[in-house]
Symmetry: D2
């Protein structure tokens, strides 16, 4: 391995893949050698994403034309269901390669759950046990040793970072959690859909996938682990917001006897005292997506509800960065023994 780690990006024509390229391009230890996008193969990257007009990047190739032997790490930004076979093939044929999967395909431990939520049989169940759930702050040690990191969804990252320590501590009742989630439109991807047209999503607000969003599965799996509860269910209700980036989750929790919002907040402060990208805000300061845009930071806080015994836990991140490409890069740094913040130090862009 040379001085730089050579990476390939599968699915470079999506928003997630493009944001990975944006961040990786200035990462001091990365050389981008392969970009795949089957439907755009043969084009230069700047023809597909014009904000890359200023720099030189490899042209797009098909997955089949990519040469995995000349790549050290693979970031996968393909849609779920399309990545298991290729991931398995790379995993098995190229033992030196580490895979940072940003899709949903290896997040769920239970193949039956995968089938239930994604409607497909999982075709790589044999390598599923190798996958580490890539929520960096909670699984850092496992990620350091992993060859396959299943990076969490954007919503789960915001939700779990703010709720898992609370569920684990027993300060809250994990069986009574309502999560009202809000996301910018980039979360829906670059595919052509009527509801993500400017005139449809702009100047308006829509709940969607109510009671059945797939990210529920990850959230329930991980809060269930934390609380030691099988078959846990939470309410998770997403809304589409007229902004491009950013995600904010407002979680309504019931506290166990004797706990206060201040206790919850202190527990989060302690939990993330040494984490470079998690900010528990000053008392009373409310998270807002403007605090994190374009960056790998998460901001969170706990606020008392006026109903005794209840608290409100709010968490925000940029869905394409800490919610996807940034967290994948953070995991890459850990997996390769690099400084965790390498290539991710950009402060949020505001306004």
């Amino acid at each position: 391995m040379a001085d730089k780690i050579r990476i390939g990006v599968l699915g470079a024509s999506g928003y997630t893949g493009a944001d990975l390229v944006r961040l990786a391009y200035t990462h001091p230890k990365i050389e981008i050698t392969t970009l795949t996008a089957n439907s755009h193969a043969g084009k230069p990257m700047k023809a597909v994403f014009k904000h890359f007009s200023h720099v030189t990047l490899p042209d797009l190739v098909t997955i089949d034309d990519a040469d995995w032997s000349s790549v050290d790490a693979v970031f996968c930004g393909l849609p779920h269901g399309t990545t298991q076979a290729i991931t398995k093939s790379i995993f098995q044929s190229h033992p030196h390669v580490k895979i940072l999967d940003m899709s949903a395909d290896f997040r769920l431990k239970d193949p039956a759950a995968y089938k239930e939520w994604y409607g497909l049989d999982h075709v790589a169940t044999d390598i599923q046990p190798e996958a580490v759930y890539g929520l960096t702050e909670l699984y850092r040690d496992d990620i350091a040793k992993a060859r396959l990191v299943a990076c969490p969804g954007c919503y789960p990252t915001a939700v779990l970072l703010s709720l898992v320590p609370l569920a684990k501590s027993g300060l809250i009742d994990a069986t009574d959690i309502v999560i009202d989630a809000k996301s910018g439109v980039s979360g829906a991807g670059r595919g052509l859909k009527e509801n993500t047209l400017f005139c449809e999503a702009g100047e308006g607000l829509s709940p969607y996938s109510v009671g059945k969003h797939r990210h529920s599965a990850e959230i329930e799996q991980e809060i269930g682990f934390a609380a030691g509860l099988d078959g846990l269910r939470v309410n998770f209700t997403p809304h589409l917001i007229p902004m491009s980036r950013g995600e904010l989750t407002t979680s309504y929790v019931r506290m166990n006897q004797g706990a206060s919002a201040a206790d919850l907040r202190q527990l989060l402060i302690d939990a993330y005292a040494s984490d470079p990208f998690v900010t528990v805000l000053d008392e009373g300061v409310l998270p807002q997506t403007q605090m994190v845009r374009g960056s790998n930071y998460v901001a969170m806080n706990v606020v008392p509800d006026r109903i005794p015994g209840r608290a409100i836990v709010i968490s925000t991140l940029d869905n394409l960065v800490k919610g996807s490409a940034g967290q994948a890069l953070q995991n890459f740094n850990i997996a390769y023994g690099l400084e965790e913040t390498m290539g991710l130090k950009q402060l949020p862009l505001f306004p």
Copy 2:
């Protein structure tokens, strides 16, 4: 009274006042004779709101310079705390005048609650008992006889229309309601505040007034009445959304034994069967603010939660129309014995 009813608008330089003028201008039975705006007195309305450049309206005058004897009805769009004295004065000196108050000043039955939430002593408690809470669909008969109508806040209109019938019916547990509310920026008014600048509110999402928004008081008062509970508390958590108009409330409710989301939905269908402005959407169709922009319609629906025993009640309206000026005009129509939909038949503007 001549063929047309002469109206005055107090506070015509705010968004609420302006939207009342917009609607009233084309109302077949209204003549706009007086517009007040103390800080802009002497100016033509089109100097303050350029979208009135096409029509002729009375120039703005101070409240003191207005001649109430030449007005039949007064719409009050002033901020809370500033309207009690003038409202009382008009109410007592001009018995022929009906007052449609769009401020918060006469909404709370209990002066102590007013003081608690608004931080001020109420200075017109003697006329408070005359005030009818102007949630049209629930108090239509009282409004028909009222001289002072305290039109509800925007959030309470969305919340109460969707929850009061449920609370009254006993199908839900009124003591366990979480209301996650989202509003466009016009809800914050036209005053100069940093957080409503384009660059601050745009491309971002912020919770605000968590656990202490003043609209909680109205919501608790009316759901308490419906459920027959004193001192009821609900969770009410508002968020600022990067759009100008529109409001959507997502209410998480626990159902009483045996009830289903379908039951709740059917109850709302029955409750509003003859109401021209309330639309209970088809099964599975989710409300979105794009359905109501610029119109007096409310759209709502009930969706099952995947947690057994819980349901999600979603409601949306245009905060400046059904949430304020439109509902005031609807009440005006009722108070004057006109067709309830007069001047309010515009369909939503989309896109």
Copy 3:
């Protein structure tokens, strides 16, 4: 003909068709009897445009299934190139029907120009001579007698209303006109295109079709007529703006000897003194799209350039209303001898 005029809308699933339905629904003399949309035939209109959830409209049918004998007037909101055959067929088979065409197919007098700009042979050149260019304020008398009205494009409406009187008067040099045009995204229609996704068009600004936008042809045809010049060329450069509705054109003109910006402005005031929808703003007040949103108004003004001998003519309208469906309805009113403003009196929606 009954009390109401029965209308059909071809292409009701596009933004233009939908805005026609929005306006026609509250028009006192219109009954909407037929809505076509081939790809959505069989669905209720509210399934395609949810803002119609509140009202009852005819279900969508295919063009072939529509019964033209039960319709008095047809509004055509189909894309160019698809309407000539059907328009011709209705025109010839149903002599009682008047056609208000919102497409581009009958705007150009010269079939060769049509072929040059639209890349297609015109297949209904025999009825082209019957078509009146539907720029209401300039061709009102012809429209009153027409059976086929070719309503102008959105940009041409804004440009021509502000420049034709000046070109005709000789106050400006029609051979030296630069038109910098800006449009909201709805001008691109509801078709699925990557560049009109929220994340692509939002928070950004793009010129497009520079030097070759098809609306150039109409603009040059009509300014050429006004100035008495054959083969006139103007610069016309459009830009896509992150807003849904609204269009503003900034035209840079060279004045002929002795003329001043004030002269140009006065000429426009005089030209439109009796036109209900054209507002020449007060001196120094600059048009902005916020003045016209959702309404049929046009606002314009002339401002001196600091370069001697030059002036800037600015014009704004809502591209879906005066730029399309509203103007079509205005022409309908004229063609049927109704009050010109009927169904179009809504004031602009602001904010």
Copy 4:
């Protein structure tokens, strides 16, 4: 001078100052030691700009309380008219300090022009001759030796980079230039003004300062220098666009005999062949603000007009980065002999 260069930022509570802080924080050779903001003195920076919640920065102080002897370089982000006295004082009392002025105060060579455009007498005319106009690509050598760099306005940066080489070459007629300019709302600053409220600027488009924007003075000065013409006038017409960041200028030029758009484009390619932040796009690719958001890049191109002899020159940048703080930092790098791109390598943020 230690390993790091200590900087102070005057006016850190404005958008320009904050963006300088954002960029400087990750610059490897900078230590931020002083942040001033008179009206917020005593507060932590994160109380004024919440996107700095994640990092530690000096608290805000008044200008009077700042200790300039412990600072190596000063970036000035104050409004024009307020900076001359303090700049002069620092310049004269602290000879080791270099000043990067982002205000307009030292841009105009001619004090009479300053008075004409800014309405004030210049109070530091004695140091004006020391000021270098900080348009990096055109004055790099002078900047390397300067102690006072007057960084250009945002519009002038976009306009001049695209037009000065053309004016200098004689390929265009510098006396016949029309510049239609469009800017996001952050260009208007963070001050509280009604026209920059979300509800006023959103979903709409407004020309402003037509025929009298102050940036005209810089543009005319520099194009005049390039073309060798005294008293040159250009048309410059700005428009406010509903987006936070980004600026695009569309310049309409008349070419001198024999020149083509391709010649103009080639001349720009040659002029900027070795400049790291100027991108002349591929033939036919149109600049759009989405290509540069959050970055120090400028993208430009030349397109033929369909009118013979005319061309359209389009240029875009992020008004807060290359249009202000980024260019100041680029100049800082040059003035201190650092790599020109240091701290500025971030790629544009899209979407």
